[in-house]
Symmetry: C2
Subunit: 360 residues, 2 copies
């Protein structure tokens, strides 16, 4: 059910496809790097599995391969960027670089983005801050699939939050999480396996508990982190809402149930209150708070202490946010990246569509 | 089991107690306002129920009633404040005002605080930004009661996050949440009722599921938002960790299992890596992103649309974060504040201790 590809093969295909869409060499390389980082880091739902989806958005005229990305509003520590309907995979790094440049001068930089679309995995953008001895923050809104607590209506996307924190000799702390109980990618994996979904991941169209991983196709909805009110779903709902407000209301993107859908066959919502999808990025210079070396020494101490926390019976160790993705990356860089057969077939179709050689 | 007090009676007692501890008139008024805001807003665990706890910390020399709070490091958009062991109820507003002043000039302001202690409810500090047409953020670390995913050790506090967003004709969006499945206050309520805890709120000392609301007294731990790995507890663990790092590692407070305990009879941890408890505050000027009136019009639209989301069967309406607390405040300002009999007895003891008349 799976084929294994080298990082180079997947990167090469993605880059060639973005060039064929009309992206500049620089943008194609950046977009491919961001996209395939998801496959490398084990978040298969956000990597090359979406390549043909981006192509269809471009074919539908919803992606501009040669965007004129620009700052439309700014203050010493903030900016709003209009992504000009560019690939989110390119708009996001541009915006994150802006946040980092602001932070270099003002101590922190905060950038809201409108008129963009899906930007891949949030963590990779937040991690851009690390080499500058900054904490990085990235979030995005997304097509509505999630019902608020006490509701059955699709009002929010899976709206991820990523935070990357530099350390010294330890690897960085990198949290990257959807604000739902489970990501949509995990539901897709269960669908392919024809396996049921655990309690609390989804509900049916009437708000009843559902164990059907494909219930979204029958009008069901995903549930906010916490699953139900008794287990804190109102907190997941609040977190997803904060991501929506920061990413879209602040910069003028379309929010809530009006967020533009990723599948190109789904019509755009009527009366969109903003332009395109929105993101929000932050960079905080460590030495705007305390000397970077001192901070990193304490982060090493923090990480070491948490790694040494007493494991529960049946568990060998306590993980630090970012450990699983980093370990996946180490393994996949050498052993290759497993790709589901359906996705591999889709990649071959895309390569043929553009007449690109694909070593898979 | 409950007595009802007027807001004025509780505020008056708290203010007089803080004055008796040696606080200035200004600090006593501010501390009382923050403390009793918790009772007004229905978060009973963080209000006058803690008054005698603050007194005991002061008696133990762990609270300085006349702190010299000062900025020890800053950049255009950041500051680190040393709270000089002051009441968190006073240090937090000082720090939030600093964040607001930074934002007025730099667009945003971000303040890390060390050498503080419990600051009451996070939401009340975040809400200080609202009247300035700013988004407010507040978080704090706290005594370790929570085990990371796959662990049985107390490593994190309930580490709350609050975000307050101004609207136009609608009331503001105010999220204020512990990063655990349930707050410690909710466990205390169950203990008083001798009722069991729901699945996923706590585990016993060996990491087994527990339904005992008092299990923390037998070495148990609270669980991060998500409850178990399958329902996203690694996300709650990551959120609590982010709060710990922003609140304590960034500004030089004591972090993780070394966070100072609230009960004065619990000895301070050995080898504390920082000073006191830590907080983190943020203020973002709306018009550093887009004109404030335009933003507030869209927030009204956002709030209105979410309020109108289709309710699930058995539910009348969908709530906006901040609705329950605001509604509690409206009711309690007029009808009074119900206080558990044990807490009322404790308040009488405190009033006698200082020879303060108490109308309860």
């Amino acid at each position: 059910m799976e084929e294994v590809f080298s990082y180079g093969a997947l990167y090469g295909l993605a880059e060639a496809v973005f060039r064929a869409m009309g992206c500049s060499a620089e943008h194609a390389a950046e977009a491919a790097t961001v996209l395939v980082a998801a496959d490398l880091r084990g978040i298969d739902s956000h990597g090359v599995a979406r390549l043909s989806g981006y192509v269809r958005l471009w074919e539908a005229g919803r992606i501009n391969a040669q965007p004129n990305m620009r700052i439309v509003h700014e203050s010493p520590s903030t900016a709003v960027i209009d992504g000009d309907r560019g690939l989110g995979l390119v708009v996001a790094p541009f915006a994150m670089r802006t946040a980092i440049a602001k932070a270099a001068v003002a101590g922190t930089g905060w950038v809201a983005v409108r008129n963009s679309n899906h930007f891949g995995i949030a963590g990779i953008h937040a991690m851009m801050a690390l080499e500058h001895d900054m904490i990085g923050v990235a979030m995005t809104n997304a097509s509505a699939l999630v019902a608020p607590t006490f509701s059955t209506e699709r009002m929010l996307g899976t709206n991820p939050i990523a935070v990357a924190v530099p350390a010294g000799s330890e690897p960085p702390f990198v949290a990257d999480m959807a604000t739902t109980t489970a990501s949509n990618g995990k539901l897709e994996i269960l669908q392919r396996k024809r396996a049921p979904a655990p309690y609390g991941w989804v509900q049916d169209a009437d708000g009843a508990d559902s164990y059907d991983a494909a219930i979204l196709k029958a009008g069901g909805t995903m549930l906010p982190l916490g699953s139900d009110r008794e287990h804190g779903s109102h907190k997941g709902y609040a977190l997803g809402s904060i991501v929506d407000i920061f990413s879209a209301v602040l910069g003028g993107a379309s929010y809530g149930p009006w967020a533009p859908p990723f599948p190109a066959y789904v019509p755009l919502p009527m009366n969109m209150p903003g332009e395109g999808l929105g993101h929000f990025f932050g960079a905080m210079r460590i030495d705007a708070f305390r000397p970077a070396d001192e901070f990193k020494m304490h982060m090493d101490n923090w990480i070491g202490r948490f790694r040494a926390a007493r494991p529960a019976p049946g568990h060998e160790r306590v993980l630090i946010p970012g450990d699983p993705e980093r370990e996946a990356e180490v393994g996949r860089r050498t052993a290759g990246i497993p790709v589901h057969a359906d996705v591999a077939a889709d990649l071959r179709k895309v390569s043929e569509r553009f007449g690109i050689g694909f070593a898979g």
